[in-house]
């Protein structure tokens, strides 16, 4: 092996500039991969984590499965062609009739950790002269705690106040900002669609990082919301917390079968996002792949050039007793060396970009709201980066190396004589 290294390193470092360019090419590929992977996955993981925390793993609700033609079909039969104009929604009872029974029934389920009832509705919240629409969520704080991680997002951990003070609310941080509320204790008026207006005290803020929620949500005691919506003892949603989050769909289906209610696991609720993430990943990896391919061409290029320019030297080495496979090794090793150095540099670069991104103090406000970038600094990305680089460099180097090994020294000696 020494006799191979001896020649490899010489050939490589004699052409410093080209070697350096090839190394830099690889390192950009690897660095970009690491940075992109940690950024993308960091964002996605953060989003899913937050979403999982906030949105029940499984939600059970009343779903309006209105069939506009139901009556017509009943009267005229299934094969009738019709079009319904101006159908009015029935005054559908958006209610889970036996919710207390359901909660009891699933309390002891081994797949579930928590279960909590919700009543949701719309309302207008007013502070001073500012009006905002809000989605009102009535919760049972004791049960809610077990079924979600709401505590984590309540800024001052005053969820209990919803129990003691029935006229208190926790409002979304961005909603509060839009209303002009910057501290607790402020009084807001909430008006419901059935024209009930009620005065509430803001006791805490809700700060999930998910813009859509923080901008609209108001939590209050379930009993209070039932009262102001005039829906005594009614709920329209039950949430479940699952032991194994990745079995959510399965358990959702089970509950659906057992209860007849519409259920939805988080993967389904978030399918649009998960789909977007898939596409996003796809694009990211395509770009990174393209960079790596370009750097592989860099390696291919430098080794092909070396082989073409060093035909004479290859002939001499063969005359001195180097075998074909050793010549292959000499040139493949050049590729691997470039790949390896590029990978090392790329790791440093990737780490540097991560450090930089981590230090950037931007408040991103898109689908999610974070301070700085949510990075996933999984060491595996470095390992993958190195593996990719080495694999690519071996592939890129192989053809020219093989070409080199096939040179017949006699041909070279004759042609230069």
């Amino acid at each position: 092996m020494r006799h191979i290294l001896f020649v490899t390193l010489k050939l490589l470092f004699e052409r410093k500039r080209q070697t350096l360019v090839a190394i830099v090419g690889v390192s950009i590929g690897v660095g970009a991969f690491i940075a992109m992977a940690s950024l993308m996955n960091g964002f996605q993981k953060y989003f899913i984590e937050q979403a999982l925390d906030l949105n029940a793993h499984v939600t059970l609700k009343v779903k309006d499965q209105q069939d506009k033609g139901k009556i017509i079909k009943k009267v005229y039969g299934e094969d009738v062609y019709f079009h319904v104009h101006g159908a009015k929604p029935r005054d559908l009872k958006d209610k889970i009739i036996d919710y207390k029974f359901l909660i009891q029934r699933y309390e002891k389920d081994k797949d579930l950790i928590g279960i909590a009832p919700h009543l949701t509705g719309q309302g207008i919240v007013r502070y001073g002269t500012v009006d905002k629409s809000a989605s009102l969520v009535g919760i049972d704080p004791v049960l809610e705690r077990k079924a979600s991680v709401i505590d984590k997002f309540v800024s001052n951990r005053r969820l209990d106040l919803l129990i003691t003070d029935r006229d208190s609310v926790i409002i979304g941080k961005l909603l509060a900002r839009d209303l002009g509320i910057d501290e607790t204790g402020k009084k807001v008026l909430i008006t419901t669609p059935n024209s009930v207006t009620h005065l509430f005290k803001v006791v805490d803020f809700f700060d999930s990082g998910i813009t859509m929620l923080d901008q609209t949500r108001i939590y209050m005691n379930l009993k209070t919301l039932q009262t102001i919506l005039n829906r005594t003892n009614e709920v329209n949603e039950i949430i479940f917390k699952i032991r194994d989050v990745y079995r959510a769909e399965q358990i959702a289906q089970r509950i659906n079968l057992e209860t007849g209610y519409y259920t939805e696991g988080w993967q389904r609720a978030f399918r649009n996002f998960l789909q977007i993430f898939k596409i996003q990943n796809y694009i990211t990896y395509m770009i990174v792949f393209a960079i790596l391919v370009v750097s592989a061409f860099g390696i291919f290029n430098i080794i092909m050039m070396t082989v073409l320019e060093k035909k004479r030297d290859i002939a001499i080495l063969k005359a001195l007793g180097y075998e074909d496979r050793e010549v292959i090794k000499i040139f493949v090793l050049q590729g691997i060396t470039i790949g390896f150095l590029g990978a090392c540099l790329g790791c440093i670069l990737g780490f540097g970009i991560q450090e930089f991104l981590a230090s950037v103090d931007v408040s991103v406000e898109g689908i999610v709201r974070t301070k700085g970038f949510a990075l996933d600094r999984d060491p595996r990305y470095f390992v993958y980066g190195v593996i990719f680089a080495l694999t690519f460099s071996v592939f890129a180097a192989f053809y020219p190396s093989y070409k080199a090994s096939r040179l017949n020294p006699i041909d070279i000696f004759r042609s230069s004589a």
Binding site: F6, E14, D313, A319, L320, E323, P409, F413, R414
Partner: protein, 227 residues
């Protein structure tokens, strides 16, 4: 004395052209043989076959009495490395390597420790009058000096035989004399040398002269005057 290289019934054709015809030649340990002939007579082609750089189209080769098969690439490479020291008209040094490293390459290939290889390379270069220039690169010395580096490299693994293809073809008379003196000295040390040339004057310094024309050996004489 036994023959260290022997070829029997060698033919070589390239395409339709027969460039070597029924060559029979045996070189004994310690001989200093020159092969002479006009340009294109097949001298280099024969030398490549003797040095196992090229396979004949037909015929047998024996090195130290053992038959050679060109399909055994590993053995061929080992023999090139251990048994032969090649010297070419265009010296063919590795331009990326300094003189010392050029001489070290065959030794490193043979598995010699780096330090030992370095010491021997210094010794050989000194012996060939290149002391002090060891760390220069090939393009930083004269043609005559380059050829001496090539000789040093050829001697690196103490080869069985030194094979030189018009080693002085590119040198002026002064350097030609130097190289021929070196060969003479090597011969006196007991080394076997096979040298191709097209200058009759040079054959006078050798023990034995093989004449080639049109791919055939037309004469094989021993020089009466030997020093």
């Amino acid at each position: 004395m036994s023959s260290i290289i022997e070829v029997k019934g060698i033919h070589k054709s390239i395409g339709d052209e027969m460039i070597l015809r029924d060559i029979n030649l045996s070189v004994k340990q310690g001989e200093f043989v020159s092969i002479i002939g006009p340009s294109g007579s097949g001298k280099s082609s024969l030398l490549y076959i003797l040095g196992l750089l090229d396979a004949p189209s037909k015929g047998e080769i024996y090195i130290e009495g053992e038959g050679i098969s060109f399909s055994d690439v590993h053995r061929i490479a080992m023999l090139r490395n251990h048994k032969f020291g090649f010297i070419f008209q265009f010296h063919y040094l590795l331009t990326e390597f300094n003189l010392l490293e050029n001489v070290m390459v065959p030794m490193i290939k043979a598995g010699k420790k780096r330090q030992q290889a370095r010491e021997r390379a210094y010794l050989l270069l000194e012996k060939l009058g290149l002391k002090g220039k060891e760390l220069r690169r090939p393009f930083q010395i004269s043609g005559g000096e380059q050829q001496r580096v090539a000789i040093a490299r050829a001697l690196a693994n103490e080869p069985l035989v030194i094979i030189a293809d018009e080693p002085t073809g590119n040198l002026d008379s002064k350097n030609t004399a130097i190289v021929m003196d070196i060969f003479g000295a090597l011969h006196r040390e007991g080394k076997t040398v096979i040298m191709v040339t097209h200058e009759i004057a040079l054959t006078e310094k050798t023990e034995r002269v093989v004449k080639m024309i049109d791919g055939e050996i037309l004469g094989d004489t021993t020089n009466p005057t030997e020093d």
